[in-house]
Amino acid sequence: MESNQVVLITGANSGFGLACAKALAERGFRVYGTYRNPRKAGPLRDLAAGLPVFPVLMDVNRTASVEKGVGRVLKREGKIDVLLNNAGFVVAGFWEDLSEEDTLAQFETNVFGVLRLARAVLPSMRKRGSGKIINIGSIAAFAATPVLGAYSATKSAVNSITEALRMETREWGVDVTEINPGEIQTNVVENTRLGRDVRSKSSPYRAFTESFERFAQERFRHAAPVGKLVQTVLKAVGDHPTKRRYLVKFEDRILYWMRWLMPDAVWEWALGLTFPWSKRV
């Protein structure tokens, strides 16, 4: 369909990144999918066997690695039409249960990684006068909850980064947008890093953590299939110009609008119903 369009997807060796690589390659895009760990690149290599998918070794936490990976794609293709900033993970735990390293690791990948990729691809996009960056955010950017505070903070930051890049790069014909999915059936749960003291017996939040886990499990039972998110990505890739942001499923829209319409006090009251233990003792 859109032949010869080059897409770079970070974190494409599993879950949503992999599904996106497949969907885009099937529609005629030349897909470069990054992976960090060669031992976990199996699914991506399998995909590359039958489709125009090309695995690229890249650690978004390291500038040299990002520059090298992007440089190789540019050398081979001469351009990158679409950058899909997908690589990311979740650090879970009450703020007090997170160590400095936990927080840093969360920002290193989810925020600094996005900035590194943007920095690496933008000069070539500006030079050509066209290009698109799609950041994978989260509905958590608009609705911070307990336990997922660090994740929310990174996704809020990405939300702001998208807005700034969208303004700053438009004069060169570069389009920047963001997709904010809610729960999606991917390996996000197994890729979750627990804060240092989350399992500690002395953590004052221990009982709350257990209660939150039950809540999260319940939520994830209603997670949307990954195909929903892939559809949204295809829409964002096809839209010229893009919308400011894309939401994925109906429930996410409801949540987004509830947050938009409710005053802080009402919103907190509603959250208090969701997390009963967070009420005052």
């Binding site: 703020w95 400095e100 920002f107 967070s278």
Partner: protein, 281 residues
């Protein structure tokens, strides 16, 4: 003396921190005003003569320094009733052009520094089963502006940190809020660091950034001074129940309100028009 509530404030050498320290001391708090560089404590020392205000060194970028300062306060006062996370500065430049070191430095103070101090103080507040934490956020945590995208992203993160920490700390009778000043007549210029690419004149965004800088250096005559922010912090700390956020200044109240009524596409359009004006200036 013993009955006075105890406040710990970071970043007190100038502006909002300076005024908040003085105001709280005048209003009957025992204030521990901290700053990174004790050599810059002259003006505060002079202004606070005879007041229940002590000056301590605290560099929020360094864990050891944070630990030492917090331990010092506990040793001297035995308790902490309020923490005001004020230390911060603003990076200026195009988002694409910040180096790793510049990004890290901005986050180190505005996000990780705030978390470091909070992490040290929370256990004390929990033991007391009472306490208040106020983060100094910004209008830039609600809306993103071109040229200060990196700074905005740190303040977006602070918003999410506030919202999640508020619920996490509530069972321990700890209250958390964010104070969001709009443009303020403070020596923010002193607390601003321009991106190296811009300073050296090799930015691809040079002209636009210069126009934005000229615009930002002329705050409206209506902009309140840092004393207004200090008054808001005092009001929050002295209220029985803190709201989630406090906005200071006409722009901080009005801009989010206007944004609230605007559909996404209209807001997008308005921002583009505004940015185009800088580009042509």
């Amino acid at each position: 003396m013993e009955n006075k509530p105890v406040a710990l404030i970071t970043g007190c050498s100038t502006g909002i921190g300076f005024e908040t320290a003085l105001l709280l001391a005048r209003r009957g708090w025992r204030v521990f005003a901290t700053l990174r560089d004790v050599k810059k404590s002259g003006p505060l020392r002079k202004a606070s003569a005879g007041m229940p205000l002590e000056i301590l060194p605290l560099d929020v970028d360094r864990t050891a320094s944070v630990r030492r300062a917090v331990a010092g306060v506990v040793r001297k006062a035995g308790r902490i009733d309020a923490l005001v996370n004020n230390a911060g500065w603003g990076a200026f430049g195009a988002l694409e052009e910040f180096s790793d070191a510049e990004i890290r430095a901005q986050y180190e103070t505005n996000v990780f520094g705030l978390l470091r101090v909070t992490r040290e103080v929370l256990p004390i507040l929990r033991r007391q089963k009472a306490g208040k934490v106020v983060h100094i956020g910004s209008l830039a945590g609600q809306m993103t502006f071109a040229g200060i995208g990196l700074y905005c992203s740190t303040k977006y993160a602070v918003e999410a940190i506030t919202e999640s920490l508020r619920l996490e700390a509530r069972p321990f009778n700890i209250q958390v809020a964010v104070v969001e000043p709009g443009s303020i007549k403070t020596p923010f210029k002193v607390n601003r660091r321009k991106a190296v690419a811009f300073v050296e004149g090799r930015s691809a965004y040079q002209k636009t950034l210069q126009a934005i800088l000229a615009f930002g250096d002329n705050p409206s005559a209506l902009a309140p001074g840092p004393v207004r922010v200090a008054q808001t912090v005092a009001r929050a700390l002295e209220s029985r129940r803190m709201a989630a956020r406090y906005r200071v200044g006409l722009d901080a109240v009005l801009f989010p309100l206007v944004r609230w009524f605007m559909p996404d596409f209209l807001y997008d359009f308005a921002l583009r028009r505004m940015y185009a004006r800088f580009r042509k200036a």
